[in-house]
Amino acid sequence: MKIVVPVKRVVDYNVKPRVKADNSGVETQGVKMSMNPFDEIAVEEAVRLREKGAASEIVVVTIGVAEAQPVLRTAMAMGADRAILVQTEAALEPLAVAKLLKTIVDRENPGLVIMGKQAIDDDMNATGQILAARLDWPQGTFASAVSVENGRITVTREADGGLETVDLALPAVVTTDLRLNEPRYATMPNIMKAKKKPLETIAADTLGVDLAPRLETVTVIEPPVRKAGIKVASAAELVGKLRDEAKVI
């Protein structure tokens, strides 16, 4: 079985994002970028499935700028076999990403797609679900455990009220939650080997997908700074302040 793992290049999770001076978005120029942490978990899970004999090949895909290549190299250093960069300068929404991913899935014909449940930049939590719907495949989202057997995949989901286990026919789309695994380190020999693994670049505009955004960003602002708290001497003072200053009662 082949596994496709979509991975996204995002602002590194250690970086405190900064809004651009003109409020048009978050500053990404000169900021450290790396693989979306949920996607690292997805790559790790794919590698583990291959190590268990449940998969034979792992293909990682990213959609984005040429500078996203290091993210693909990292995924290959972790164990993916080859990589595809769908190259575009456009700022994409989950719908367009899912449509592009579908063209790759149609071409690669994998038995399983594993991807992050959300990307930590826009936090949409949407791409996996949209992709499953467009492929008309079953989906197991927020996975904290998976196992593959006899052409089916069992996914333990971290649902709001607790854990839910679903049993899906393959091919399927699985999205990863934080507790699924702890990704391995890319070691130096593996990083070196990854430099020689195949990386194919496809121009996004050759795939016949409408990439036009459906949303318009009006303004991006930083959350207001929280004011320091104060101590009140009595309940009466508290009520007074809530009524007259905070105007919440």
Binding site: D12, N14, Y185, M188
Partner: protein, 547 residues
């Protein structure tokens, strides 16, 4: 680190430890000389530039020698120096020192550029990678690998070790990186360099190294106040006459200002806080007027080697060489170490290339000869008396001496002054010095430590051994607290050390995750009881371009 672990090995012709200006220049020069050699560079930061803190006004001299076509290659030197001011500060006023460019031509900045050194290093890294040099960010050299009296490479840090020292689920042992020659370019107070200098006794007969701690902020200011290329330095207030240091402020890039403060680490007052000094200088009218209405973007700190020529160790040893700030090539009166680090890296590379080409490549001994015949030596020779003069006679007389040395003797005075003691010896017991009352932060120009460290984007994997080791944990209570009242909780610019009371006794809490790798504790601890070891690779600050 235990040695029983089975370690994989990789072998190269040359291994370079540290991807700052020295290491990257060495890599590029080596490739130019030896097109077929295998060259590997390891960098502990998560990417090249992630751990670089500098001013920086740089001289393009070494860069032009290394890559004459740097302009065509779009090197990020975009802001030429356009105006300059040196101020002697009193509490409320600043006196401009006139004609500085004519009196002390070596200090004038005409023809220099204000840069982000982090950006320049990223660019150098990209050039080096294009030339086929293997660059591995996120891998720290944890210890030297010495065999038969010869440095044969390094051992990289183990990954995935838990706080208590056990192997976690994703444990990955460090590797032995073997090389015929190793270039140590870890910057000031390199942890591997320290051990190698000791092992091969490289500091015998030279002055102790003396350091400064530079703490820096990058600001974005309103476009109407921005004067690209304007650079300002100050000395005097708020430091007393016996403490060496001063502030800088450089306008560069797109509405950016680099502001920072260097404190000479030979200060004696245990109550002094370099962080608080750097904060309060911003309230001086000569600095405030540049920053008002702006917002602070980045914060960071790093030690610099100030000792100069008299403090340089032996430069080569069996199996390797020292380059850049690890050896101590910075020119202190100029406050510039970038062009000197680059030049030393290039000279080191030339010597290493020669050693590799000859029979039995034991020592790159031609390094010292090459250095002595270069402009780098002449430059450091002319600068050699300035820093020791300040240490001896204080700021005012030191400045006067600097003037005489430069104007009358043009740096060629027939004597050489020496640094007499190490920085950690200089600290006086707390009851012999006066506590300093620092003003509270206003949240506009001045800030507290926590919100500052936040802007360094520092992170260390939490479940790992503490990388700041007390050689003798019992010493802290008696000496650091008993005698000095925990100076580390004031000099550490990241708030790593906290003296806390528990069970009616004082204890040292070490918040190792916050460490920005400045190395000050390794330098200044009065009994040298703190050892800075490399944490898991990739940990530490994540300074963006602009730093």
């Amino acid at each position: 680190m235990s040695t029983e672990i089975e370690r994989e090995e990789m072998e190269f012709d040359v291994l370079i430890v540290g991807g700052g200006p020295a290491g990257l220049s060495a890599a590029i020069r080596l490739r130019q000389l030896l097109p077929d050699a295998t060259i590997c560079l390891v960098e502990k930061g998560s990417e090249i530039g992630a751990h670089i803190v500098s001013g920086a006004v740089i001289e393009p001299r070494a860069l032009a020698e290394l890559l004459p076509d740097w302009r065509e290659r779009n090197a990020p030197l975009n802001t030429p120096v356009t105006g300059e001011k040196i101020l002697f500060l009193t509490g409320k006023r600043g006196f401009s020192i006139p004609f500085i460019d004519r009196l002390m031509p070596a200090m004038a900045n005409h023809g220099n550029y204000v840069v982000s050194l982090g950006a320049l290093c990223r660019w150098l890294g990209a050039q080096a990678e294009e030339m086929g040099i293997e660059i591995y960010p996120g891998f720290a050299a944890a210890e030297p690998f010495i065999e038969n009296g010869r440095l044969c490479g390094v051992i990289t840090g183990d990954m995935g070790v838990t706080r208590t020292g056990e192997h976690g689920p994703n444990f990955a042992p460090g590797m032995i990186l073997r090389a015929r020659q190793t270039i140590l370019s870890e910057g000031a107070r390199g942890s591997v360099s320290q051990r190698v200098m000791k092992h091969f006794d490289l500091r015998q007969g030279v002055d102790p190294q003396t350091y400064g701690l530079g703490i820096k902020e990058v600001w974005e200011i309103p476009a109407e106040n921005h004067r690209p290329g304007f650079v300002q330095h100050s000395f005097g207030w708020p430091l007393d006459n016996g403490t060496y240091g001063g502030a800088w402020l450089y306008h560069f890039g797109e509405n950016l200002v680099s502001y920072g403060f260097v404190t000479g680490l030979d200060y004696d007052n245990s109550w002094l806080s370099p962080f608080q000094e750097m904060q309060r200088v911003k309230t001086h009218p000569e600095f405030a007027k540049h920053l008002e209405g702006g917002r602070r973007l980045i914060y960071g700190a790093r030690a610099l080697s100030e000792g100069g020529l008299q403090s340089l160790p032996r430069l080569s040893f069996p199996g390797g060489v020292l380059a850049g700030d690890s050896a101590g090539f910075l020119n202190m009166p100029k406050i510039k170490g970038t062009h000197t680090a680059m030049k030393s890296g290039m000279l080191a590379a030339e010597a290493v290339a020669e050693a590799l080409g000859s029979e039995g490549p034991d020592k790159a001994t031609s390094y010292t000869r090459r250095f002595k015949g270069s402009w780098l030596f002449r430059e450091l020779f002319e600068a050699r008396n300035i820093r020791p003069a300040f240490a001896r006679w204080g700021t005012r007389l030191g400045a006067l001496y600097a003037g005489i040395d430069s104007v009358i003797f043009r740096g060629r005075a027939p004597w050489t002054l020496h640094m007499r003691h190490t920085d950690h010896d200089a600290l006086k017991p707390a009851n012999e010095t006066k506590p300093i009352a620092y003003p509270k932060p206003d949240g506009k120009l001045t800030f507290d430590l926590n919100s500052s460290v936040f802007l360094s984007a520092t992170n260390h994997e939490e479940d790992q051994p503490v990388h700041l080791k007390l050689r003798d944990p019992s010493l802290w209570n008696a000496v650091n607290w008993g005698l000095y009242r925990s100076p580390e909780s004031r000099y550490c610019p990241a708030g790593v050390y906290e003296a806390v009371e528990a069970d009616k006794e004082m204890h040292l809490r070490i918040n190792a995750q916050n460490c920005v790798h400045c190395k000050t504790c390794d330098i200044k601890d009065p009994t040298q009881n703190i050892e800075w070891c490399v944490p898991e690779g990739g940990g530490g600050p994540n300074y963006p371009v602009g730093m």
